[in-house]
């Protein structure tokens, strides 16, 4: 049965549908520090929006608290700058209530991995169709520099003056362990890759998790240089491409093979290794995805960038709708008067 909301939403979009990136730039000044990685993440996101070909009023950005949380103010769509760690449950309720919307969550390593950790793993499990952009700067920035669940062991911060004692989460491994269907990683210095992954995340039906390395100039400057700077990045990252062999390095002369279950680096055409020994990436193989995810903190291995896994599973909100439709199809629309009357009643 249609409600007034359905009727209001049925009104046709009257304005132009061909947008440019700047249609998504509200005229407020961006309050991130000059040189903050977040600024470099914002632009591919803004450039992606016109590509979606949907009315901007159908797009919602939900964020938690953190520097990253300011994102919605800089994207001229509907937005919700919620409370710390709760962007995902809010987005979940919104998407279940409104499957017609394109729902994005912008969060941070503290917001999503620390206080929001439970909502994150349950989002991965439920597979509601929301796209998660996690700005990982390996520190709590808005609160001026404490270690986070992705900070490295030994990292010196305001709350770990003698070095952090925790080992970090491996966000992509956590997502896979929790049952996420779409898991990817990128960084603030490669906007093209980022825009591509965000597009894929948008197209993916179900929860899409994109970890984005984000350089915090003030509290953790250079944390990702090894993986993002022109000099070192070829040798220290590997770009995952579906169906392609895992090659990297200047001149792509290095590859990843499995010895036992453990990934190792080989030099092509040396020590008798050939291209055929090299692992071929397969987004649909969740075991491989986990093997790749586990490469993360091994300094002798390149850090995987790109889409680790993209498998299909019906999004949760579709199941909700199906169940309702099926029930209505078989039992008919609910009769309110009958509900009030109940199964057994009597006349006085």
């Amino acid at each position: 049965m249609k409600t007034v909301v359905d009727k209001l939403l049925a009104r046709p979009h009257t304005g132009n549908l061909v947008y440019s990136a700047k249609d998504f730039k509200p005229d407020v000044d961006v309050r991130w520090c000059a040189g903050c990685g977040s600024i470099s993440i914002l632009s591919p996101a803004q450039r992606l929006m016109p590509e979606l070909g949907i009315p901007k009023e159908k797009i919602v950005y939900v964020s938690g608290i953190g520097c990253s949380g300011r994102f919605p103010y800089y994207m001229d769509t509907y937005g919700f700058h919620s409370i710390h760690g709760r962007a995902l449950p809010i987005a979940t309720g919104l998407k279940i209530a409104r499957p017609d919307l394109s729902v994005w969550v912008v969060t941070g390593d503290g917001d999503n991995m620390s206080i929001g950790g439970n909502h994150f793993i349950h989002a991965c499990r439920r597979n509601v169709d929301v796209n998660i952009m996690m700005f990982n700067n390996e520190v709590y920035s808005l609160t001026k520099g404490q270690y986070s669940p992705t900070s490295r062991r030994g990292q010196v911060t305001k709350s770990s003056p003698l070095g952090a004692l925790d080992d970090p989460f491996n966000p992509v491994a956590l997502a896979l362990g929790a049952g996420a269907t779409f898991v990817a990683r990128g960084h603030d210095k490669d906007r093209t890759l980022l825009q591509h992954m965000l597009k894929r995340a948008y197209e993916h039906k179900g929860t899409a998790f994109v970890e984005i390395y984000n350089n915090c100039r003030i509290f953790n400057d250079g944390a990702f240089d090894l993986y993002t700077s022109a000099e070192t990045r070829e040798d220290h990252t590997i770009l995952l491409e579906h169906g392609k062999p895992l090659l990297f390095g200047k001149g792509r002369n290095k590859g990843i093979i499995l010895d036992g279950y453990t990934p190792r680096v080989i030099l092509l055409d040396q020590s008798g290794h050939s291209l055929s020994d090299v692992i071929v990436h397969n987004e649909k193989d969740s075991t491989l995805a986990f093997i790749l995810a586990n490469m993360t903190y091994h300094e002798e291995l390149p850090r995987p960038m790109g889409i680790l896994q993209a498998i299909d599973r019906t999004p949760y909100e579709e199941r909700v709708v199906e169940q309702i439709e099926h029930e209505r199809a078989t039992k008919g629309e609910g009769d309110l008067q009958a509900l009030l009357a109940g199964d057994s009643n009597w006349l006085v």
Binding site: I83, G93, A97, H122, K331, G334
Partner: protein
Amino acid sequence: MTKISEHIEEATIRFAGDSGDGMQLVGTQFSETSGFAGNDLNTFPDYPSEIRAPEGTLYGVSAFQIHFSRHPVYTSGDLIDVLVAMNASSLKVNLPNLRKGGIIIANKEGFDPRNLSLAGFTSNPLEDGSLKDYEVHALDISREIKAALESQKIPSKLIGKTKNIFALGMAYWLFQRPMDATLNWIKKKFRGKDDVITANIHALQAGWDYAAGNPEFTRQYIVDRSSLPQGQYRNITGNEAVAIGLVTAARKADLPLFLGSYPITPATDILHALSGYKKFGVRHLQAEDEIAGICSAIGAAFGGSLAVTTTSGPGLSLKTEAMGLAVMTELPLIIIDVQRAGPSTGMPTKPEQSDLLMAMFGRHGEAPLPILAAASPADCFDTTLEAVRLALKYMTPVIVLSDGYIGQASEPWKIPSVASLPDIKAYFSEDAAGFAPYKRDEKTLRRQWAIPGFEGMEHRIGGLEKEDGSGKVSQDGANHERMVNTRQEKVDRIALDIPDAVVEGESEGDLLMISWGSTYGAARTAFERLRKNGYQLSFLHLRYLNPFPKNLGVILNKFRRIVVPELNTGQLQFLLQAKYVKPVTGVHKVQGKPFKSTELEEKLVSLLTHKEIIV
């Protein structure tokens, strides 16, 4: 054998036995039948916190009590007139509440040495004369059933399962109740299992016949139809009433209904009911915790749903931060708290009214929101509708307080026709031109409800303080003060939109009793009885706890003494004293049990006879 049949005004019967004995089931049947018979009634199920406590133990006793009458009934009864005790423990536990001279129907099987020792009896009360003040009917139910059903050659394992039905049959005879409703129910419930049906039907009849044919039973009691207003009736519990109230309100407001909830006793029934209403398009998320429950509801509210979250004390504690967000974003949201005995895990299956001050103040910062409390199972329906009306009209989260007592108790409810119900309206933003998210309606101070999908109204909300009107983030001091006051003013103005408080009895004078929530039943009963006995006092029930009805202050000043009975240590008392700076006498009970009307009666009598104020 001649039997006398006596007309009586009212009676209270209690079926008690092991968790496994099916007492809840026969209790429900007896109340349905009493309803059909035109009585007003009130029931209360009373089960152990253990799922299946060991058989025969004191803490394992499960009971169902029905108070039925030819007059209006407001409580499930103070004292028991008829106790059906399936074992020794259920006798032990309930004896203290049995009226002297009351009837005991005891199943001897439950009084073997093992049961007696588990109940802590040193000798068998059925034999040692300790029950001489009562009318005791002891029988071996299984044997009686076997005897009666011999002809039917029914498998004896089935017979074991019909003991409760046999007892029900006896109870029906005792009150001359028609059995057809139960017979139909048996046929429906066990459709397909013919042997079970026959077994139960015969057991029911056998119970009736046993009493009828047994010289011990000399009297039948007849409770005549009550003068309930004409109409179609059903029994309803508070939790059911909330659930269908929400569906009704959503239909009335023409909104989709969203429930974000996490199970918790005694609120879970609401989640259960709503999760079954798929036909009505109810979307529900059983969230990972209470925080996700309310946050998902906030998200759904942002998307244009009538959004609800249901919980009990511990869950309300966890929702505090998100409630503050709902206050700040000024989104409509219904928060239902079925209170239980705290603090902490406390006594999860027992009712209490101790969340009022937390509902009022349990958020950091200045975060006011309206609070309503339901007075009875049926009143849960109306209160829910009213909460939804206010939430939508003022764009605000609203807390509805119920409790484990009215949530699970049941009473007859006159089924309203959908058409007759009050209108409820949702106010969506209409015009993109000049739109601003915090532009307010002048009268209600309601802000805009512009949901994603509305073209040209793209905007951002959140937990940071924002500029009034534009809704832009603002850290300006003067604006903050204005917003804090506006949020308060918005709630205060609701006082102009709700009915004035109504005083019953003397319109002014010595003593005014004020009840709230489930205290209503016992308070009203005590009030009416005292009036009947010629006492001069007044009575007022408060549904609206924040804001208070606008005439409340004036009323308080018309009385020398204000008495507030509460199942807490004086929370409404505290609010009234703070707001009206007038001393209030509290009557407190914190035992995980509702007031007995007699308790209040005694307290009031002593107050009315000693004139000095007691604070």
